[in-house]
Point group: C2
Chain length 137, copies 2
DNA sequence: TGATCCAATGATACGGGGTCGCAATGCGAC
DNA sequence: GTCGCATTGCGACCCCGTATCATTGGATCA
């Protein structure tokens, strides 16, 4: 159960309304990647469109992040670092672990630079099985 | 106008039928990433479902690859290398350039290994502006 | 050459995920 | 208080892709 930086909403001129607070509370109660549908089920009093809009907003503020699965489906997750990062996505239990690595970012920048490409974003997702599912210590 | 290795279809036990040939011919005529809809418009006599099925098939055979855009939409592209690679995706002209880089793959494997994660796939997409759009030599 | 059989096709309905339009609501500033 | 505008809820809608299923047609073998 992590805490969500609601201040960031108000700082950027958005209102912290009751429905938004309800979505944020629901997020704080989950520690696993979720779909909008799952989230929406937990919030029967909140309109589906509002859940979508709120998640979109939180995504723009880097409070939640999109997690693209291998098959193209999307889940969302509350970003723990709030900074740019990558994901280790377990295909067995569905867990998602954030990581960041300067060497990886460096390799990405190097490739862009070699191609005279002006980089303004990137994504990197790793798919496989997590340590827990492999029953490693 | 690149040539498509149609042999790979028959080698794997699939029939090289007229509709499939039509899709493949259309691909050979495009050198830009495309959506199924765009492709389907060029093939008014081919059923939409067949275009989807054929692209899915070609994707499994690594003849075309999925290109996930920054906003989550998907385009497809005929894979030039036929091997695993990453993409430089220009947000201005929409061009997609393949590249592969052992250093990048190495960094990815390193991170998986550190997390005791058993890697069985990964993706890396770079978003920005290509050299042409930047008007570089 | 024809008969046979199964993969492939096309039409269409369906489903998941997300957005739009719009009237109603409710913050926050004055 | 009240005014204005951001936000909400509802429902219709859209996009992309898949499932269903009757029909077609290609490869194989006699």
């Amino acid at each position: 159960m992590s805490s969500i930086p609601t201040g960031r909403l108000e700082d950027t001129g958005y209102r912290l309304t009751a429905p938004r607070r309800a979505v944020i509370d629901a997020l704080a109660r989950t520690d696993r990647p979720f779909t909008i549908e799952e989230l929406s089920e937990q919030l029967p009093n909140i309109g589906r469109a509002t859940v979508f809009r709120t998640i979109k907003l939180l995504h723009e503020l880097d409070i939640v992040c999109r997690v693209p699965l291998e098959d193209g489906r999307i889940r969302y997750e509350t970003s723990h670092s709030g900074r740019h990062h990558h994901h280790l996505i377990c295909g067995e239990c569905g867990s998602v672990t954030e990581f960041s690595d300067p060497a990886l970012d460096e390799a990405i920048e190097q490739n862009a630079s070699t191609a005279s490409f002006e980089l303004d974003g990137h994504s990197a997702e790793l798919y496989g099985r997590c340590a827990t599912c492999r029953r490693l210590p």
